[in-house]
């Protein structure tokens, strides 16, 4: 159990001299606190697995340091790092029973027999594997196998962190829910630092208390699910989290006003004069934009279709060449395909070159 610090950590698979833009992981400095439940969220190829493999030591970093409780462990091998990792596909030692599989990481470290048995029993109980303990591990279903993999990750009580690399990919959707809540329960029970890699936002948001969003080799935001939703630090976060994602619209911003196609939208904060030469956009989640009957004070948009998501309806609209999604208030009806858009100024954010600009209250 440890606090993990990453100091200027970076990884290039093309050698250290390659241009920074080609790095799989651009330099990152951050801290993972002891006992936290983290999710590393991002699309495929964003560097999240690389970051995970750097922490576990499967990959040696091109630059930077990894500290466990302030101790530099960068040069140490995986075996010496005291890390547990669970992989995307279940890894089972075919010749062993389920119990022997669970005991394997402990036996390799010379843990006393009695302690091994006690720990294996505890983990098997937590994962509902007790009835299978004496069975050969090969004759089991995929989710049972993945449970064994999870169990091997969790069986050591002294690990600095348990890393999960999209562990539920091979599991049926129905069992996914069960296993995910199981993991959450295990996190509370075992007080381990857990880092969970996924590209599925639901998985990330339900599992973690801190979600780290990665994009193109960079950590773009790290925060609670609510922070990511309410105040994305980067347009990518806004777009990636939420369904549908955040509306990003090119605009001119000065003071308390944003202009789209000459139409003025009020802002809650004062942005003064933004630096010239940057791409200025405003971002607002569909949940905070309503369609309304066209009126002179409203930004007018063309409705393309309306998606019914059950408890909520979203209109897909177009303003000029920009597509947006907006909430359809109950009882809304309009003749023709033109509507007005009503923005909630508290949730309209301003981005310069994709990064959030903090206004002055």
């Amino acid at each position: 159990m440890a606090r993990i610090d990453l100091v200027d950590l970076a990884q290039s698979y093309n050698g250290n001299d390659a241009p920074l833009e080609s790095f799989a992981l651009k330099p990152v400095t951050m801290t993972w606190r002891q006992g936290g439940a983290y999710a590393l969220l991002g699309p495929s190829g964003c560097g999240k697995t690389t970051l995970l493999n750097l922490i576990s030591g499967i990959v040696t970093p091109s630059r930077g340091q990894i500290l466990f409780d302030g101790r530099d462990i960068t040069p140490l091998s995986t075996q010496k790092r005291n890390i547990a990792q669970v992989f995307q596909f279940p890894v089972i030692y075919d010749t062993m029973t389920v119990g022997e599989n669970l005991a394997f990481p402990l036996k390799n470290r010379g843990v006393a027999r009695a302690e091994v048995d006690a720990r294996v029993k505890q983990i098997a109980d937590l994962l509902d594997l007790t009835p299978y303990l004496n069975r050969k591990a090969t004759r089991l279903t995929a989710d049972a196998k993945q449970k064994i993999s999870l169990g091997r990750g969790l069986v050591r009580s002294d690990v600095a962190a348990v890393l999960f690399d999209e562990p539920l990919t091979v599991i049926d959707p129905e069992l996914k829910w069960q296993l995910r809540s199981k993991l959450k329960a295990l996190h509370r029970e075992l007080d381990l630092t857990m880092i969970y890699v996924t590209h599925d936002q639901t998985e990330a948001l339900t599992f973690a208390d801190t979600v780290v969003v990665m994009h193109d080799g960079r950590v773009v935001q790290s925060g609670t699910p609510a922070e990511l939703f309410d105040k994305p630090a980067h347009t990518f976060v806004g777009y990636f989290i939420g369904s549908p994602g955040m509306n990003i619209v090119p605009a001119e911003v000065s003071g308390h006003e944003a202009r789209i196609d000459g139409h003025v939208i009020g802002l809650r904060r004062n942005y003064g004069v933004l630096p010239a030469g940057k791409k200025i956009e405003i971002g607002v989640r569909p949940e905070f934009v309503d369609v309304a009957p066209p009126a002179s004070g409203l930004l007018s948009a063309t409705i393309e279709r309306i998606d019914d998501l059950g408890r909520i309806q979203f209109a897909r609209v177009r303003v000029g060449n920009t597509k947006l999604a907006a909430r359809v208030p109950p009882g809304f009806s309009v003749s023709g395909d033109t509507a007005g858009l009503v923005f909630n100024p508290a949730y309209v954010h301003v981005y310069a070159d994709s990064h959030l600009v903090e206004g002055v209250a």
């Binding site: 992989f87 390799n108 090969t138």
Partner: protein, 324 residues
Amino acid sequence: MDKTINQKAWFLVLPVFLVVAFSAVLPLMTVVNYSMQDTFGNNQFFWNGVGWFKELLDPSTDLGGRFLASLGRNLFFSAVILAIEVPLGIIVALSMPREGWSVAACLVILALPLLIPWNVVGTIWQIFGRPDIGLLGYVLNHLGFNYNYVSNEVDAWVTVIVMDVWHWTSLVALLCYAGLKSIPDAYYQAAQIDGASRWAVFKAIQLPKMNRVLLIAVLLRFMDSFMIYTEPFVVTGGGPGNSTTFVSIELVKIALGQFDLGKAAALSLVYNLIILIVCWVFYTVMTNAGTERKAVAQGEPAAEPKPAAAPRPAGVLKPKEGVA
């Protein structure tokens, strides 16, 4: 059972039936015929019933003694080369590079001995081991070892075994390498995370994942070594004395050297039978291993028996069963 009855279909089987009859059944029946008779040449045959077979299995007779002695040598030879080639092949496969240009280089070098014809291999080692002009023989004698495969039984055995190891270890190594390559990286990474030692990785991951190819390797090497003829014949001619005379060499001596067709026919039938039985045992073991794996792949609920093999298309296949 709505089977279309069409007797003309037999004509479709006829060509195959004729080919198999002339290439396999008739020669085999000739051998069976010979094995029941004795001949002194001039195409004069005398009925001998199962006499040759009785003699063959009785160690007190000349024929039985020679057969059982050569059979013993053959089994010993197979056991020794399996005991050397299998572990050695695994070690070679484990130490081969996993990626880069050196993989191709290793594969080509390993494959080279496999491409050399048997009698050329024999000739290479026959010359290589000669004390007067052979590199190996000359150097060994120069170093003070009294090595001579023509006069010393142990030297002859060592030469034949080393030659077979040289010729065939590559096959085991290549099969094992294929087995190793099919193990996903995640297994090795997981083993690293689990703190497994090199030995534990081998025992828990590599060996279990290789067992299928190893079974094939053992089968192939056993069959080949049990039928070995050319290489030892070229190197030692079965000598010194009879010390490296294997069953096939004995068979050729009896059939072509002494022209004892009856004895030779009986011997070759028994020899064939042994190989068939061993084949069948291996085949059964291998298919059982396969079905076990299949049941595993289907997961828990699939423990119920699988439906029997697809029904045979029609009666047309039946004549072949008798031949096989």
